[in-house]
């Protein structure tokens, strides 16, 4: 469903993503971890078609994101870190716009809008203009919009930012259930616990390179063998040369 084949993306001389090869299959919930500036957001922007690879190909549902952008985007749902909403539309009008954009028929759209309003408890504010929403309300509406057309691939950039604990729980359950139903969920996060809790596979990137790739059980096995924690392992994998040297020299 998502395939990276030797994907490189440069910003000038800097390699933001370096020869990334990765395949994520239907029903898989994949979490991408990494420090700030590691290349997570660049990777996500290449999946959703905002940025094009300098080299290599990205395929979504077998569609090349560069050559068949619209078809690829048709399979995608995207929840960005900073959601964009039309301030002078109500939540319902925004959902209707998304339904129209994805070519859902009137009846189908009405059913799905009602479903997402219920799933994300939007009823209280869905008819108010989005300019009055808090960050959490906006985030919930964007989740609803991203899932409205039942995409085959759901891409999330730091999805839990701004959500209250209850909403976080619901989103976690929902992502898990959607993945179980066959959807690909690709998520970038800083929250190690979240990745460990719900992801099937975890990738850790640093300075554009994939430093670790494995399932959560493989990860747990490795952590158990090395008597370490995910946090410790993450810090070791993403340490700069200076940090690694400092850590080795410390008692």
């Amino acid at each position: 469903m998502i395939e990276f084949d030797q994907v490189t993306r440069n910003y000038g001389l800097k390699k933001a993503v370096d020869r990334l090869t990765l395949s994520i299959q239907p029903g898989e919930l994949f979490a991408l971890l990494g420090p700030n500036g590691a290349g997570k957001t660049t990777t996500i922007k290449m999946i959703v078609g905002l940025l094009r690879p300098t080299a290599g190909t990205v395929r979504i549902c077998s569609y090349d994101i560069v050559r068949e952008t619209r078809q690829a985007n048709r399979c995608l749902g995207y929840v960005p870190e900073e959601p964009y909403l039309y301030e002078k539309l109500s939540g319902r009008e925004f959902l209707q716009f998304i339904a129209d954009l994805y070519g859902l028929g009137r009846e189908e759209a009405a059913i799905r809008i009602a479903r997402e309003i219920q799933n994300f408890s939007l009823a209280e504010f869905v008819d108010q203009m989005t300019e009055s929403y808090s960050h959490g309300m906006k985030q919930r509406l964007v989740f609803a919009a991203a899932l409205l057309h039942d995409p085959a691939v759901l891409v999330l950039d730091e999805p839990m930012v701004g959500l209250d604990p209850r909403s976080m729980r619901i989103v976690k359950d929902l992502l898990r259930e959607r993945a179980n139903a066959g959807m690909v969920v690709f998520m970038s996060t800083h929250t190690l616990g979240l990745a460990e809790e719900i992801a099937d596979r975890i990738g850790i990137v640093d300075r554009g390179r994939l430093r670790f790739l494995g399932t959560v059980s493989e990860l747990r096995q490795q952590l158990a063998q090395e008597h370490t924690s995910l946090e410790r392992m993450y810090l070791e994998l993403t340490a700069t040369a200076e940090e690694a040297a400092a850590r080795e020299s410390s008692p």
């Binding site: 440069n10 619209r70 995608l76 002078k88 539309l89 994805y102 070519g103 039942d150």
Partner: protein, 594 residues
Amino acid sequence: MSTVVNNDFIPPVGGLLVEREESRVFWQLRVRMAIATARWMLATARLRMSLVGSLSLFFWLGLFVLFYHGFAFLSSPSIHTNVVEPLYNAFFLALMLMLVFSSGIILYGGLFSSPEVSFLLTTPTRAQRIYQHKFQEAVWFSSWGFVLLGSPTLVAYGVASQAPWYYFALLLPFVVAFVYIPAAIGGIVCLLVVDRLPSIRVHALVLSLVAVVASMSWLIWTIFNGAETNLMTPEWFQELFSRLRFTEQRLLPSWWLSTGLLEASRSPAMVPLGDPPWAQSLMYLALLVSNAMFFNLVGTWLAGKVYRASYSRLYDEPSVRRRASTWWLDSVLARGAFFLPHDVRMLLVKDFRLFRRDPVQWSQFIISFGLLALYVVNIRRLSYIPNYSAMIGFLNLAVVGLILSTFTTRFIFPMISLEGRRLWILGLLPIRRDAILWSKFLFAAVGSLLPCMTLVLLSDLMLQINLPLVIIFHQVSCVVLCVGLSAIAVGLGAKMPDLRAHSPSKIAAGFGGTLNLVISAGYIVLVVLLTALPVHLFLGAGQEAPQTFIDQCIHFMGSSAGIASGIALTLLTGVVATVWPMQVGLRAFRKLEL
């Protein structure tokens, strides 16, 4: 949120939208937003709407009357009967150049740096549709000024020349078709520059800006060069026509527009032979419409080819991380303001740093005051009656004040609002809240004094005013204006902050900003009248003894005592306009919950 989600994965239904459906979806979006905005304004901003509407109507009518008399004067046989054609050609050519430039810049912002396109590009929307969506916005934003300024001119010409009814009916189609051509050319240039020359796009922008300013200056120079003598005489007009001959190029859309409109304004009775004028006019309209469609089609086709790739390529360049450094002027300001309390001084330096690091602010400041300086330096080229030089000086003072008031509304009024979510940082600092407001007031007042006083002095020197009293009056009035306008903007900004807004232009366009602009305009008129009227009456006073009470009043106003009273009242007005808004602002700011 519900805790049970029982919703098995269903493969996507619905296909990719065909062009017509996509177009409908985006039109619906626009209509929904327009209706929602109109409802919101009617519900929450009636006063603002009526204020803006009335001012626009007032402005429109004022321009209409001005142009009506202008056209009536120009159509008198003693001047010239065909004077309008070259003027229209020059006006529309200048407008066309400006529209290419402004729509190109607006489209660049809309297509490559707006959050909306970052969202739309992740949906299965065609690149062509996104381009069209943003292009329509650019057309509107770049041309509404033309509608406001151009429509009274064109209607006044129709009324003054007793044009037939279809002239008025054809105005809108002509203007819309014309505006689309430069806007589409601007869009094509924008796409090509970003696609082909992404790394030098800023240089291309600066070069185009220089080219537009140079061509405008050349056009103005062409019109007014040698205008010191014989202004508005038939010889002057003849010379002007020959200079403006280049605007009559048959391939220019501006020429099609002016010719089409002038044809429509002629009565069929005036042309007994050949095609009737309305048919000629329709031919030019068809020419404009077909070209507008052609250029729009080229722009849309180009967007389909290059837009997505250009958007991605734009980010190939690593973002430049500018090193923040202390500039010598920061140190000069910090040392020069040694007499101020430490907290006020530090805040003053902070606001100055923000100003100098924001090109939008200082570039607009330089452009506006630079153009004003250009006008003042060239004022002698325009023939005027020397006896009125003192009054022209006062009018120039009012113009300086009005320009300053647009700056205080655009940049000073939003300052407190823009602190927004950062305000708690200032609120928690061990400084007096009053210091925050005083620092902003000092920043505005001191920052505006030097350029404004220099401009007013330059104007007096160029007008060869040799009465020291008048020069002193101008300078005193200028100080009163700078200080008062700064206090009004800071005080009202603190009284009516919009802490959720991020865009200064949005804050300035809100009710508070509009109110600030209106109060500032009223204040300028009052100050200029209080000083100009006594001086005018003093300079033109006769020897006859006043008969009636009104005569006595006028006589008093034109006396030395009247001038002294005028200056005292000006100072009093300045004190009230400074102290009162600042008090209101300080009181509101002290109570503001962070």
